[in-house]
Amino acid sequence: MSILVDSSTRLLVQGITGREGSFHTQQMVEYGTNVVAGVTPGKQGEQVAGVPVFDTVADAVAKTGANAAIIYVPARFAPDAIYESVAAGIPLVVCITEGVPVVDMVPVYAYVKEKGARLIGPNCPGLITPGQAKVGIMPGFIHQPGKVGLVSRSGTLTYEVVDALTKAGLGQSTAVGIGGDPIIGSSFVDILKLFQDDPETEAIVMLGEIGGSDEEEAATFIKKHVTKPMAGFIAGQTAPPGKRMGHAGAIISGGSGTAADKIKALESAGVGVARSPSQVPVLLKEAMQA
């Protein structure tokens, strides 16, 4: 079992004929993801990696029964792409695109919520249920089916920890990269809820970073609602205030959003916070045996 995506996922790729879109479609198909349709306006009738291309999402959904969408379009078109998929009734939309302006994301977030859909990202690596569906840009081979749910704000740091988990014999139920922007569709809390309710997820790893207060909110939620063993890591302990560390959301501002605060909040919620990514599996095993 898993959350959000599995072998029943019928994936639609927005921006499928672009450089990123076509490359990753190939990768996802090779992994075994059921990619049923692609959309690029004006390219209907073409094929990418054997996947038929449509002009509109609505048409693609009507003809293929797609139930999840992944977006690879450039930042200036990404909000429109999200609206199109949500309006077509797709319940899960994953936006990989980096660099979407925050002012655009404010109404996007509200619209997605109002329509009852779920958005992952933007500026995220996507999500994967090992052995069933890879809906993202992560390297599939480092994952292994298992019982650890992982949720993270970063990309390569997630791979680092997934790799460490796999090498430690801890397979994953689903690994979700929620993205590094100030406004993202799904927060730690949203994903933690799903892992807590998923009977096949037995333990949870959470990887945070500086900026915002999502980790603190997660800590409050964990204290009240999460009964499964957890371990975590917070990147950016050495980051200086006022500087954006790559991700638009990774900035310590006005003395808030520091790694120290986030570590303290998680530890007070009973989550062991590793000092280095390699320590995550160690702490998780301890928590699972406790």
């Binding site: 302006p101 002012v103 840009i137 390297p139 406004i183 915002g212 990147a235 200086p240």
Partner: protein, 377 residues
């Protein structure tokens, strides 16, 4: 991206907010001439991208052109929190009857834009938030409808403004919200927004920051960028698609991915070192990017060793290794280099590096430990 006070005032004026007239001077003579033109009392204000100008002596009142000239002479060239003052803004003195704080920011947890005001104008809002949060009046803009006139009036009434002043305040608050949205700001702040003794509203000092991700649709804002306020290496990096932030340590870091780059810095610290920089090479790690990264990192004379940490995902380890090899042929390194390569085709990559006489470690911890040791050998 940040802009100077005088530029923020320009943008506000464009959106119809009444701002205090002022002109920029880069020499004491110029400041004196502007003061003469204005007549009466003027304020001379340092234009730097940092707060605390007043406390540092970067804002002075002058009652005559000579005083203005003298004040500008003192302020120009001053170092305020590491920012050298190259420009001063000369503004007309205003007779203040009441000072208000008015700002627009993103409320991240609510995913909404927040308009906030306080009757404690002129004081840093962070201080008010800490000491008496109840004095900050807040209203969130509806994500679909925006910030509405009734909300602006609610703020005005909550501030205890005289009813004659409510509409004027509301109009400015609405324009400030519009400025935030239309200019893709991340912060728009007027502090203080004043009522003059003759009953007019005036933005006396303003501050603005912009969303870097939205600059593609704001050429006018991009033109306001003050190169003197930016770290030249950071600027150079950005042109190559590399995120770089200069830090104070002596271990250069080159990493793929922002989260992993931060984690790598943390690992360096954990093993007793101090990172010299944050550097995310971006998606790929081809020779050009790695060579550029070497140049950026070694431009810092403090760097005593370099750590490359690449987790190959879609980027293949063998490609990365070729990139490192080629970059080393182009850029002569005179400090030790430690490479950590993992993920896709890591073994092939390590073989390529070994053939070129570069050893690579398997884990981040090993690499961090080694680089710290080598830097201090």
């Amino acid at each position: 991206m940040d802009v100077h006070e005088y530029q923020a005032a320009e943008i506000l004026a464009r959106h119809g907010v009444p701002v205090n007239p002022g002109q920029v001077a880069t020499s004491p003579d110029e400041a004196g001439a502007i003061a003469r033109q204005f007549g009466g009392t003027v304020a001379i204000k340092a234009q730097v991208h940092t707060g605390g100008r007043g406390k540092a002596g970067g804002i002075k009142l002058a009652h005559s052109p000579d005083e203005a000239k003298a004040a500008a002479a003192q302020i120009l060239g001053m170092d305020i929190r590491g920012h050298v003052v190259n420009k001063v803004l000369v503004v007309k003195g205003a007779e203040i009857a009441k000072e208000i704080y008015l700002g627009v920011v993103l409320d991240r947890p609510a995913r909404q834009i927040l308009v906030m005001a306080s009757a404690e104008g002129g004081v840093e809002i962070e201080q008010v938030a800490k000491e008496s949060p109840e004095k900050i009046i807040q209203r969130r803009a509806d994500p679909m409808l925006g910030f509405l006139p009734y909300q602006a009036r609610e703020i005005a009434f909550a501030l205890g403004l005289d009813s004659k002043l409510v509409n004027g305040f509301a109009s400015i608050a609405l324009k400030l919200y519009e400025t935030y949205v239309k200019e893709d700001a991340t912060l728009v702040e007027i502090n203080p927004l004043i009522i003059t003794k003759s009953g007019e509203w005036l933005a006396l000092d303003s501050k603005m920051s912009f969303d870097d991700n939205a600059l593609f649709r704001h050429a006018q804002t991009e033109e306001m960028r003050d190169i003197a306020e930016e770290n030249p290496t950071e600027l150079d990096a950005r042109h190559s698609g590399i995120s770089f932030v200069k830090l104070d340590g002596d271990i250069g870091c080159i990493v793929n991915g922002a989260g992993l780059a931060m984690a790598t810095m943390d690992a360096v610290k954990l093993y007793g070192g101090e990172p010299a920089n944050f550097l995310d090479v971006g998606g790929g790690a081809k020779a050009d990017q790695v060579a550029k990264a070497f140049t950026l990192v070694t431009a810092d004379p403090n760097v005593r060793a370099i750590l490359i940490n690449i987790f190959g995902g879609i980027t293949r380890g063998d490609e990365v290794a070729e990139g490192i090899k080629e970059a080393m042929e182009r850029v002569k390194l005179d400090v030790p280099l430690v490479v950590r390569l993992s993920g896709t085709n890591a073994e092939e990559g390590k073989q390529i590096l070994a053939d070129a006489g570069i050893s690579a470690t398997d884990t981040m911890d090993e690499a961090a430990e080694q680089v710290v040791k080598q830097a201090h050998a």
